[in-house]
């Protein structure tokens, strides 16, 4: 328990509307390392938090293109170069035959990139998170909404930020340690 560091400040809200408005005011006030934790998706909350677009789409695109290239390379090498076999008069490396495999490998690698890219961007798997030590945070999977501001935020101040979140109507506002 020695040498603990502040991770951030967590505030509890009662409703989706309350956390949406709190998120808008927090980002409008200049905080940048803000996150929201809710029991269900709240439309527009990502915009209120001023979160940029996810780079996941670009990762998936790269995964898909890699699948296309790998499939073509594989079939070109196997059917066209390494083990050429003529079957019922079809050209050994004919584009018609390669389409289904190319499509499947594109979908496979794009899908795998989507899942594991999402894990990577979220820094998952992860067994513990400092926010779990907040005393009412367990209700995030039930009926409460939480807003967090991390200590790395340039505007973070362990006294002023607590006051600010309380002024927005946050309850159980507490500093969470790492």
């Amino acid at each position: 328990m020695t040498n603990t560091q502040k991770w951030g400040i967590v505030a509890e809200f009662d409703s989706a509307r309350a956390i949406y408005q709190a998120a808008e005011k927090t980002t409008a006030h200049g905080y940048t390392r803000v996150d929201a934790h809710t029991p269900f998706p709240v439309h527009g909350l990502d915009k209120a938090l001023k979160q940029g677009p996810s780079p996941l789409g670009w990762l998936v695109l790269c995964g898909g293109i890699t699948g296309i290239c790998l499939a073509q390379l594989m079939m070109w090498w196997m059917n066209g170069v390494d083990y050429v076999m003529w079957v019922s008069g079809k050209t050994p490396y004919a584009w018609e035959t390669t389409i289904p495999i190319t499509f499947e490998l594109m979908v496979l690698l794009a899908g795998i990139t989507a899942v594991f890219g999402m894990f990577g961007l979220n820094k998952l798997p992860r067994l513990h998170h400092p926010i779990f030590s907040h005393k009412t945070f367990w209700r995030v999977t039930d009926d409460r909404f939480f807003l967090s501001i991390e200590a790395t935020d340039p505007k973070f101040d362990s006294v002023q930020t607590v006051r600010f979140l309380e002024s927005l109507g946050g309850k159980n506002v507490a500093v969470v340690e790492d």
Partner: protein
């Protein structure tokens, strides 16, 4: 919120008082008249200059535009059977497009008049074994490919389509008055057998009106390839129509970027589905390599059609796939409108590819056998020689006529189902 489904639904007036529910009296009348006149003039000009091949040009335009109406009927029923919430503000437009099917039945008359020119391969086939030019394949198919039965079937198809379109549109308009949620539940139930009838009638109509141009040939997936292109064209047409209505101050506030984004996704999806079905057909025929099946593609290796096949792979798949992939394009008014216009043009070329290579007479038929191995310029030249301006003239003319009649429907009813139980959900709809 969703509890309104159990009570009489909230009306558009209550949910969004600033949205115009109905086109003002007399408004858009000029546009409607102009579209009808342009349509009639273009088809008249095509008829006057088209010569003997006019009926082929007309069939290209007609099947292209019919696909849009059938796509609208399909969309309406799919929204009901899935009890979709997001699409309520789009559904009335689809109902109004499908509501033009009675006019499409009238516009089918030139195809009937020209049927002996179009379908002479089987209508004039010799199925008497005693005669020297006896065609045993067509004799075997003569139970289906019978001239009188062909006309009867056309009547059955239109009866199904018009019946379904009028029922779904009529009930929806009735709900505008009563706000009765039971109507939505009933339409969801009717949509199930309705879609079954729709699928069978559409696939057999595609067999009758396009596939039988080459009556020895057959492909069981053919109806779906026609359907997929038609539904894609329906989404393109709907995007452009609703954008245009938006520019006149209608549907704005009801249809948002979110709805256009979803229409764009559907446009993309059915464009890809067209590719999927066409490739499925091509690959199986290519693999099996049976002369009775490959003959259809063999016809499409001559007279510049090989280059059109390549053009369709690029224009009906590769380019729009890359172009419409991004959500930013689908959410951008001009980006989506460009994609829609582009795919409507390509849809016409798709119809040419399906219909025109079977044309053997007329004053712009290509010399047979040449251009199979020519360069791009040579092949494209051969394609330009084979087609006629009348193909595009009939297509654009019929599109204009459809636009005019759809506008007539739009002006008569509310622009959205104003008391649909899921209207609130649709107005608030957001993509995540």
């Amino acid at each position: 919120m969703t509890a309104t489904a159990h009570h009489s639904a909230q009306s558009l007036q209550q949910l969004a008082p600033n949205v115009t529910a109905k086109v003002r009296d007399g408004d858009l009348a000029k546009a409607q008249l102009a579209l009808l006149l342009i349509g009639a003039a273009l088809i008249g000009a095509a008829w006057a200059t088209g010569g003997k091949s006019f009926f082929f040009s007309y069939l290209v335009g007609y099947m292209g535009v019919l696909g849009i109406c059938l796509g609208a009927l399909f969309f309406t029923m799919i929204q009901h059977i899935t009890r979709a919430g997001w699409s309520v503000v789009v559904r009335r437009t689809a109902e109004n497009i499908a509501g033009a099917l009675p006019v499409m039945a009238l516009l089918f008359v030139p195809v009937l008049v020209g049927s002996h020119d179009l379908y002479h391969h089987w209508m004039d086939a010799q199925i008497d074994p005693a005669k020297p030019n006896y065609d045993s394949v067509l004799a075997g198919k003569s139970a289906w490919l019978d001239t009188n039965f062909f006309f009867v079937r056309a009547a059955i198809y239109f009866a199904i389509w018009i019946g379904l379109a009028s029922y779904f549109r009529g009930q929806s308009i009735k709900q505008d008055e009563s706000g009765d949620p039971a109507i939505s539940l009933r339409l969801a139930r009717v949509a199930a057998p309705g879609l079954l009838l729709f699928a069978l009638s559409t696939t057999f109509a595609a067999f009758d009106w396009i596939m039988s141009l080459d009556p020895h040939w057959f492909s069981t997936i053919f109806g779906i390839t026609y359907f997929s292109g038609g539904v894609m064209a329906f989404f393109a047409f709907t995007i452009l129509l609703t954008r245009w209505l938006g520019s006149k101050g209608y549907l704005t506030g009801a249809m948002t970027t979110e709805h256009f984004h979803d229409l764009g996704k559907f446009l993309f999806a059915f464009m890809v589905f067209w590719t999927y079905t066409n490739f499925s057909q091509y690959m199986l025929i290519w693999y099996a390599n049976l002369p009775e099946e490959t003959v259809w593609y063999a016809h499409r290796q001559h007279g510049g059609w090989a280059i059109v096949g390549t053009l369709l792979i690029v224009g009906h798949f590769l380019f729009p796939f890359a172009f419409l992939m991004s959500r930013h394009v689908k959410r951008h008014p001009l980006g989506l409108a460009f994609g829609a216009i582009f795919l409507l043009v390509i849809h016409c070329i798709d119809m040419q590819y399906l219909i025109l290579p079977n044309m053997e007479h007329g004053d712009h038929a290509a010399p047979a056998g040449e251009a199979a191995h020519g360069g791009f310029a040579h092949e494209f030249g051969a394609y330009l020689h084979t087609i006629s301006w009348a193909d595009f003239g009939c297509y654009v003319g019929l599109l204009a006529l459809l636009g005019g009649f759809v506008l007539m429907n739009v002006r008569r009813t509310n622009l959205v189902p104003v008391r649909d139980p899921r209207l609130a959900e649709s107005l608030k709809f957001q993509n995540i």
